[in-house]
């Protein structure tokens, strides 16, 4: 056969130029426009909260723990949402609460993912006794109810914000570990990981460069959910008096401090609770949408 025939075959069969690439940003924008209403709403809520949290000092009429009036003043007048049990402005504390609660929850979740994610991938990649040791340790931690365990640890180590963050992060990282390990197990058996091992790559490269990028979608989705749980845990701990300590404004303790108002038919204590609920719902909408996109699920008609 002639050479000319050969080259035509090769060009057509194997060397066809791939379709033009689209830029990441424009794809993201297009996806966003196609997103369902719930996801858009969720995004809006999150953006709103982040905005409020970032610009709290500018947005608030008073200082965070400044006593500006008498106790339990009604809505309206100088205090849009009234004052709390010590005479501090409710709106101001709500806004600062966003900053504190969201900020601490975010840091905690990041820390939990750092610990759990790295340990999970390592367990999957190294297997053997490392996997056994880590997995059993996690089993032990998970065997004790998280809230009770964290109450116990907080009473031992004191209730400063750093200890709060570390304790909740460690307890929450067990869930992240399980997920990261499970999804990594599917990746570490792939040939490209074997190729990297045979190249002589260290465990650091395999963890971060080979495995991590491939397990990002489920981890990001889990991040959203974990964030909600951490957030709720902090609020719950604060409500019980072992979380964020006064005078720092935070939604959990705000509910507790003003709980008595409920008896008088005043909805003020429900506002911080509502703020928590709204954010949780928003984050979940976005996570749902993201999971749907990355898992390749299609709406069946």
């Amino acid at each position: 056969m002639s050479d000319s025939v050969d080259t035509t075959v090769e060009q057509t069969a194997d060397a066809l130029p791939p379709p033009p690439r689209q830029r990441g940003l424009s794809v993201a924008w297009r996806e966003l426009k196609k997103a369902p209403l719930s996801a858009k709403f969720g995004l809006l809520v999150i953006v709103g909260y982040v905005f409020v949290a970032l610009f709290a000092p500018v947005l608030t009429p008073y200082g965070e723990s400044e006593i500006v009036g008498s106790e339990f003043e009604p809505w309206g007048g100088p205090f849009v949402l009234g004052t709390d049990n010590l005479g501090r402005d409710m709106l101001t504390r709500l806004i600062y609460g966003a900053r504190n609660t969201i900020g601490i929850a975010f840091v905690t979740t990041c820390l939990a993912f750092l610990i759990g994610g790295v340990a999970g991938i390592l367990a999957a990649a190294l297997a053997g006794w490392v996997d056994q040791a880590l997995s059993r340790l996690v089993d032990v931690l998970m065997a004790i109810p998280a809230l009770i365990f964290s109450l116990l640890l907080l009473t031992i180590f004191g209730t400063s914000i750093p200890t709060l963050i570390v304790i909740i992060a460690v307890l929450d990282s067990t869930r992240v570990f399980r997920l990261a390990r499970a999804v990594s197990l599917n990746v570490v058996v792939m040939d490209f990981v074997e190729a990297a091992r045979l190249r002589g790559e260290g465990i650091g490269w395999i963890t971060i460069r080979e495995v991590l990028p491939n397990i990002m979608p489920p981890l990001v989705a889990e991040f959203g959910l974990r964030f909600c749980f951490v957030f709720l845990t902090i609020a719950a701990l604060s409500f019980l008096g072992l979380g964020i300590q006064p005078p720092t404004a935070d939604w959990g303790s705000m509910v507790r401090d003003n709980a008595t108002l409920i008896t008088y038919g005043d909805v003020t204590p429900l506002l911080p609770a509502g703020a928590i609920a709204l954010l949780t719902v928003g984050v979940n909408f976005v996570v749902d949408w993201f999971l749907h996109k990355t898992s390749g699920l299609r709406d069946e008609k």
Binding site: D14, P18, F192, R197, L198, G200, N214, M216
Partner: protein, 555 residues
């Protein structure tokens, strides 16, 4: 067996598709996949659909059932099956047809069976559901069909789960299932592509017998011309969703008209240039009396062979013969129980973790599945660049230039490909990237593990030519693991034939293809389909006479 479907004698038109157009959805727009094809099929006729991957063969095959894959739609033309217009029929009517009168046999039987149910339960589901027979009758029928399809222990095999039978047996069980309702038409979509040559023969023979026994019409989809020559009465060549050529098998094999058809026919003609003997040079890699096991299960027994610089050693055998395990021992993924591997007469540590960077660099590996061999989240730049910076400490412009050089070497345009992700590449292109990654380490020895078996023939041919050129230019030694003897014949200098973890025959390529052979080598060699349409009959006749393969005797 009497044909118990709705009458009709051989020669009547069973299926008629006119001006068939199918579109697939890509990025919000509908792209044509099939661009107006006419397919007419008569009762008892076997039609072969061939073409490279992406030609629309499977899509056309599925359309014969009035079915389009999710994300695809039939946008034009007519499909008439035995007088019934499938385009006009309701989904309910079409569903009744499927399985009972039109059946489909998929490429991967392993993926098409539900692993949680026994074979016979999956067999009986359809006839019982369609009200064709009772559960007991269906079970009896299943056993009968298993017997006809020459499955071992037909009375009991149905009570096994899919993972408890071999790939070839599963494919036959799938064919039996397709026959459960005695359909008028069966669509075979690459039923033997995933099988070894020796198993492929068994499946081909049974499929052909069944088709003649039941006077069933069939559409046989494949990219293997030699196979289609054995099976089909008539062949249609498809390309880019269009018909290239259509003719009777004999005519098509003897006198292909179109240029494209001729290139398809010529694909298997690639032959490496004859090279000298290597016995005088010192061996590059020497495998000495290696015995290996997975836990307590022994897989390799006393394996020894040499690879000389610039030489290709093909390791052949069916799946489970231990050829990939031999590669794992050489790469150090599986330390041998006994024996050792020497490179340049220096023994390598058995465990890859104990080898130096340089020892690792010298032996590279190319995998069967290019999809999983490159990290889907890395750009081509990083995939090829990593060995360069890792082994050779390159960075900046030097690194960039070398990546571009390598891309040129594997015949891909650097400007187009360097910033892409593997997902944006075709199978052949991905395999080229894997080759570039191996070359980046500047090895002198490359293990190629079934590198072409996942690609269709034209693309595979390109890869083989590339590997051959690189070998000559860079004096590389290859260990080429494959079960495809046509590939072996094309590229190897020396052949090692393995069976159940042992080397049964070993010698220069030219000698291996000349008799006398070891009995197993002979079985392997004679099982490679040839382009002659009468080859299968001839082979079966010969084997029957020799009584070599029990399963070749037809019922």
């Amino acid at each position: 067996m009497k044909n118990n479907t709705s009458g009709g004698s051989k020669g009547d038109i069973l299926l008629e598709m006119r001006g068939l157009r199918i579109e697939g959805q890509a990025d919000e727009t509908w792209q044509p996949i099939i661009k107006g094809i006419d397919i007419v099929l008569h009762r008892g006729e076997v039609l072969g659909l061939i073409g490279e991957s992406g030609a629309g063969k499977s899509t056309a095959g599925l359309a014969a059932m009035g079915f389009a894959r999710p994300g695809c739609r039939i946008s034009g033309g007519s499909i008439v099956f035995d007088g019934m217009d499938l385009m006009a029929a309701s989904e309910e009517e079409r569903r009744k047809l499927r399985g009972s009168r039109i059946a489909y046999v998929a490429q991967s039987a392993a993926a098409s069976f539900n692993p949680a149910h026994k074979l016979i339960d999956q067999f009986t589901e359809l006839p019982v559901k369609h009200g064709k027979s009772s559960r007991n009758a269906a079970e009896a029928d299943a056993k009968d069909l298993y017997k006809r399809l020459l499955l071992p222990d037909p009375d009991n095999i149905g009570y096994r789960y899919p993972h408890q039978v071999s790939g070839g047996q599963l494919q036959r069980a799938m064919t039996a299932m397709a026959l459960a309702c005695r359909p008028d038409l069966i669509i075979f979509d690459e039923p033997t592509t995933a099988l070894d040559v020796t198993t492929q023969i068994e499946v081909l023979v049974t499929i052909r017998d069944i088709v003649t026994q039941f006077n069933t019409a069939a559409i046989y989809i494949t990219h293997d011309l030699a196979v289609v020559a054995q099976m089909a009465d008539r062949i249609m060549v498809l390309r880019y969703g269009e018909l290239v050529e259509e003719a009777d098998t004999d005519t098509m094999m003897a006198h292909p008209k179109e240029k494209y058809t001729k290139t398809l026919w010529a694909v298997r003609t690639f032959k490496k240039q004859a090279t000298g003997t290597y016995t005088d040079s010192a061996p590059l890699v020497r495998v000495e009396h290696v015995t290996a096991a997975y836990g307590d299960i022994p897989v390799l027994y006393d394996i020894s062979f040499d690879v000389h610089p610039g030489q290709t050693v093909a390791v052949v055998g069916e799946s489970g013969s231990g050829k990939s395990t031999a590669a794992r021992v050489i790469t150090g993924l599986l330390p041998p129980k006994e024996g050792r591997v020497l490179v340049h007469d220096k023994p390598l540590p058995g465990d890859y973790r104990k080898r130096t960077k340089d020892q690792l660099r010298h032996a590279q590996m190319i995998y069967q599945m290019a999809d999983t061999a490159v990290n889907p989240r890395h750009r081509i730049r990083e995939i090829i660049g990593r060995p360069l910076s890792f082994y050779l400490g390159m960075k900046g412009d030097q690194l960039e230039n070398r990546i571009r050089e390598l891309l040129n070497l594997i015949e891909l345009d650097p400007d187009q490909f360097i910033d892409r992700f593997p997902g944006e590449l075709s199978g052949g292109q991905k395999q080229r990237i894997c080759i570039a990654r191996a070359l980046a380490a500047e090895p002198d020895f490359i293990i190629c593990d079934e590198v072409t078996s996942a690609l269709d023939q034209i693309v595979a041919e390109g890869i083989l030519k590339l590997l051959d050129r690189l070998q000559r230019e860079l004096n590389l030694a290859y260990m080429f693991i494959t079960h495809d003897l046509a590939t072996v014949r094309a590229i190897s200098d020396e052949v090692v034939v393995m069976l159940q973890g042992r080397i049964v025959e070993h010698g220069p390529c030219a000698e291996m293809f000349q008799p006398p052979h070891h009995e197993y080598t002979d079985l392997l060699l004679s099982s490679v389909p040839e382009m002659d349409p009468n080859w299968l009959d001839g082979l079966m006749e010969r084997r029957r006479r020799e009584g070599m393969m029990e399963s070749a005797s037809t019922s």
